[in-house]
Symmetry: D3
Subunit: 284 residues, 6 copies
Amino acid sequence: MATSARGMTMVETNLMAELTWAEYQDRLRRQNPVILLPVGALEQHGPHLPLGTDHMIPTAICKGVAERISALVAPAFNYGYKSQPKMGGGNHFPGTTSLDGNNLSLTLRDVLKEFARHGSRRVAVVDGHYENQMFLIEGIDLAMRELRYDGINDMKIIRLEYWDFTSSETLAKVFPEGFPGYALEHAAVMETSISLHIHPHLVRLDKLPKDPPADFPPYDVYPTNTAWVPPSGVLSPAKSASAAKGKALFEEYVRTIAAALKKEFPPKATARAAAAAKSTKRKR
Amino acid sequence: MATSARGMTMVETNLMAELTWAEYQDRLRRQNPVILLPVGALEQHGPHLPLGTDHMIPTAICKGVAERISALVAPAFNYGYKSQPKMGGGNHFPGTTSLDGNNLSLTLRDVLKEFARHGSRRVAVVDGHYENQMFLIEGIDLAMRELRYDGINDMKIIRLEYWDFTSSETLAKVFPEGFPGYALEHAAVMETSISLHIHPHLVRLDKLPKDPPADFPPYDVYPTNTAWVPPSGVLSPAKSASAAKGKALFEEYVRTIAAALKKEFPPKATARAAAAAKSTKRKR
Amino acid sequence: MATSARGMTMVETNLMAELTWAEYQDRLRRQNPVILLPVGALEQHGPHLPLGTDHMIPTAICKGVAERISALVAPAFNYGYKSQPKMGGGNHFPGTTSLDGNNLSLTLRDVLKEFARHGSRRVAVVDGHYENQMFLIEGIDLAMRELRYDGINDMKIIRLEYWDFTSSETLAKVFPEGFPGYALEHAAVMETSISLHIHPHLVRLDKLPKDPPADFPPYDVYPTNTAWVPPSGVLSPAKSASAAKGKALFEEYVRTIAAALKKEFPPKATARAAAAAKSTKRKR
Amino acid sequence: MATSARGMTMVETNLMAELTWAEYQDRLRRQNPVILLPVGALEQHGPHLPLGTDHMIPTAICKGVAERISALVAPAFNYGYKSQPKMGGGNHFPGTTSLDGNNLSLTLRDVLKEFARHGSRRVAVVDGHYENQMFLIEGIDLAMRELRYDGINDMKIIRLEYWDFTSSETLAKVFPEGFPGYALEHAAVMETSISLHIHPHLVRLDKLPKDPPADFPPYDVYPTNTAWVPPSGVLSPAKSASAAKGKALFEEYVRTIAAALKKEFPPKATARAAAAAKSTKRKR
Amino acid sequence: MATSARGMTMVETNLMAELTWAEYQDRLRRQNPVILLPVGALEQHGPHLPLGTDHMIPTAICKGVAERISALVAPAFNYGYKSQPKMGGGNHFPGTTSLDGNNLSLTLRDVLKEFARHGSRRVAVVDGHYENQMFLIEGIDLAMRELRYDGINDMKIIRLEYWDFTSSETLAKVFPEGFPGYALEHAAVMETSISLHIHPHLVRLDKLPKDPPADFPPYDVYPTNTAWVPPSGVLSPAKSASAAKGKALFEEYVRTIAAALKKEFPPKATARAAAAAKSTKRKR
Amino acid sequence: MATSARGMTMVETNLMAELTWAEYQDRLRRQNPVILLPVGALEQHGPHLPLGTDHMIPTAICKGVAERISALVAPAFNYGYKSQPKMGGGNHFPGTTSLDGNNLSLTLRDVLKEFARHGSRRVAVVDGHYENQMFLIEGIDLAMRELRYDGINDMKIIRLEYWDFTSSETLAKVFPEGFPGYALEHAAVMETSISLHIHPHLVRLDKLPKDPPADFPPYDVYPTNTAWVPPSGVLSPAKSASAAKGKALFEEYVRTIAAALKKEFPPKATARAAAAAKSTKRKR
């Protein structure tokens, strides 16, 4: 807590949940910040990473990005779509706690519409769980449609999966023997490295499994053939993970995502958005 | 982080998101703990309390309860049902970010069904936002119905609003001039006091509004008549709030909720639940 | 049936279901009446009150109000949300016939949108079943949202639970030994008294149970712990009920609800609403 | 009200809403009665018939049937599916107040499941509004499916549109010049006659329109081509309607529907259903 | 494939699925054609007609109509609403593959909204499965409503069941001994004749059942009383079917449906629709 | 059409829509065939490929597979999920006709449940439109869940995107200069080649655009930034496409998918499935 020029307390935070409504309104009007919404899951991440990995990492990235570009971080979506064998080991593990796809879409729709009601026209949905992607796309589409019904046509939303911001240079450093592809990167080198960087006390390195990489056929079967999935839930060996690699990845994500958002949401839009905020309030 | 007898790392935590799936499974099998699910909102709480008040308080209570009875705390529901004028000031404030009721119900349904799939039969939904109540009840009812369809008849769920655990003794201390009733306790003495106890750095005491208590007619009007709601969003004066009162309230909630859960979920159920966990896994 | 000045038959009724469409249209255009929508339930009300109590009472109140302010009474919603142990004894009783919450919300949404299509901008939803409240709020919110999508921004809706119109004076008369609070007033003194006033032939006074008041803990449990609920379904003794008390309550409700609606829907709005009715018809 | 042998009051009624839960349970156990559910609409019926015609007629028929076979009459569904031009004049008339189809289906589903929970296995849905038919079929199908999920496989439901019980003899009497077919029988001879029989005070005979029969092409157009629909909303002339014809129709419906239900729900089923009622209660 | 004046290949087709997006756009802009959407079912049609009968016939009719009026044929809906005993034999037959009603409605809604987005304002839904009718009506109503929300008020949709275009002259030829009515025309003379005309190789004439016509009571029962339905699934004898009758029926449908669409969608609308197409594109 | 040993006509087809219900039942009982369900879209595929490409290709593959392993081909899903810029050019093109995700999921759910009701326990969903993937997964999950509710636990479903069956050898032949990855393969070399093989008359080779490959940033933006998408809708140059390459791809898909299904659905299951078919029929 700090003391402002006018002698008033001021909580220095970019976390929306920690702001008062008046401070939030003030930030929207004065800075027209991007609202960053971390979306994750509660999902098995092997015997060495916590169940919350997929919401913890995007939340940490959002905080880093928010510091760079004075964005706000909305409270995370802690639960995501059902884990798939080839993407996250499958939904049969204990601890994996998933939502029906439509609920995830509709919840995102609702939250986006509320941000628009507040006067924001700049949102970035930062996804940390691959299975969420299409349901987030649908949620965004439904929100844009209903905002249009409400006469709001200038909302702009970015959606991203953070790992798509890995440069080939960084990939080369993280995988000196060659990047095997994102397909098996669940609870593996990248997520373990990032976790070692952002919350090392939550990584049980001595529990790292020695399973070989998963080897999936080019189709899926339902119910899940659990024999296809390594018993540990880790899709490829993470033993080469390190905090240093995690730092490189994490800092690249923060830097490049911040840059992308700066480009997509240039500062000149401020005045217009503030006006929008006002007229919206009048309208409803 | 500690080191266990067997020389393995051990993260000391009751937070489900921080556990690995293997640890979570182990806890379920050995201890059959209650899973505590904090449910809140992102909602204006006056110019002095953070938007996240309604999920921060139940989360803090759940952590306290979990320590006492070795329960687990699932990640919070950070968004809740639409704020109502008489309950939370109304949904027109910036920052208030609400869900359609059915989405909240269905999301809770999904999460509860997943806990049951993990083998748990003991869940407590700890609500910090009054407007959620009926939609949580519906979500629980839908979950119980679908679990029944799946042949699971022994799930037991507790749902509570934490303030209902205030004793008349504590009320008398918190309101020495007489308790005016829960109706106007939004962002008022009780929530402010608890916030001063659990996160004083997030309370802007110098922003406490001087509005008189709200005076509502015995009906509601739509669209919201914003003239009925104090401009600050605070429904009754909070000036008598104090960290000491907050401590008394908070500790009473933790103690009595823990006691209630101990009574409703007696330890002898352990073996049965472990068996259930096993047979469920076989079944699906 | 009467004969109008022009020698035409004229059915003297405020019941929308008894009007022809032409008469209804005429009433809307000339008088711009409030449309009263009674919403209730089919729910156990002890061994002495009929299952329909919660829709019968608000229907009777609406008829009384309609006479006073020339309102119209729409057909009642006869089925409501699931009975809760602490509010109505619980949904396990035979005869209690309840809807999923979302269906209730959507049905109300649909009906409200239709009233708006007819040209009405003045509706009062009169609820007689506490469990309905939040789902009615949601239904109204959804209707207002979709009406807004349709360019209709001047709909105004009142929602009320009738018992909130009990004055402290009347409470003192009805409960000379002190009002124990609304919490246990299910099938108890107030509902029994009102029933004795409006349909005494449907009250089985000799079946009044002698159960002591229910004593609930400060939480709920699912599935319902039926041992908490008096076997009769009556939450507190009704033996002090009387037709005289019922008359006092009923007449107060009619009088004060009528007054509130008169205040919220002042006559000067007539012309505007008639215009709205016309332009809506043109639009769609 | 009568006095039973044991000196207790006894309300003589077949209306479920007028029974107490204990009486309802007793009726179910002792008599295993058919539960009759009248389903209608709030829909324009020309300038001479009330908006409630479609729920009033099936309610009256149900009461008549209930007397004959000791059935119970559940509260009516007062609102139905959207009026179609060729069936009911179209949904553009003021007063016509309709539901989205899925809401009607789901509401019926819910109510049927509740009757099954009470222990009933014998329900007849008596429809008075043609547009409802397919949505009622869907609601019944969804209820049967979900009851099956709950292990209830012996529910039996009859669904009927009452006019299908008109014999060719009666048709010949009602239409001595030949029956033009059901297609244009909206607010026409049959409904007007029945209304003259069951509630003559609600028929404005002097308002009978003189429009010729509607003449529709073999397709539908959206939005409704209102020029196709007689301005009165009456699809064919009702001038030959009479109370005597209404009596003949009404009594035939009551007699033949009662007979059909007696055949489909033979008395021998009583014991089994009572047992079912018991085991269901144990199960849930 | 042909070669156009400009030496470019040109696929001569009215099938939307065979056009490229550029050709489709070009057709919409230049010709403003009606889009014909065949809707059917996958449903038992006796031992002699294929399961796809109900989508094959309307598809064939649409192709014929398209040739006459330069319409486009969208890909068919191959699955429809649940077969009913009196309409299609009932949903218990193997092969009958049906959708919940609401899914059918929403799918139609979506497709119609997309046609509108493309710039079309002229659609005809050509139904070949009676059970679909009300769910198609609902889907159209929902589409029109949401298009209205999007500011599109000039969409026009025709919906038809093709058999309603049978003239009394043709009926007299097809049924020289008198038309028994449409009620039992499932997999019977009309559908068999049309099938013999449009795809004789798919008609197993030697499998024609000899069942007498079905004889249904004036109500329905759930679960389906399969004893009411002829074991073959054919509701009335088809032995008098012939390719010549099929040709007469088919050609009448094509001719009269084409004429009706020409009347409802007169050519002068072209320019306006093209403009609409443009403005829509600008808008979204 | 052929003549069987018993002198009866026999339609030689693997298309479910062309079978009668009796033949279908017979095939299920005798052969226990896999049911192949092609799922596609109606979506822009550049100026040279038809809108139906995504349902035409999987339908053709299914037919090929069906011949090899005596499977059945169910009618295709002709409409799919909304086209995404990076996957299919985006949903803003005329002709692209898409469904909300939940409708696609629910429709698949319904169809799969019906196949199970018929007695089948072996289904393969063959997807030709990448955007469908997650909504198909959800539809399958919902179907498996509801089948479980109905006591059916032995349903087995394969879901595949056909391009995942391309071997590295074939990729090397199709892309002699190196495979640029699946990301931009929309309306490009692979789809164009396959189309040249299976329906050359529908490929407008002279319309092949000369756009360079699309170059997308690592995030998505809503509303779609159409400047990112080549105006043709083709994401990478298709000029090296050929019928020979298409033949190689197509035949590999047919061969390897057939082999995979043979492995996953071994013949020995026949007897059990036939028994299942019987018991299911008895059950419902």
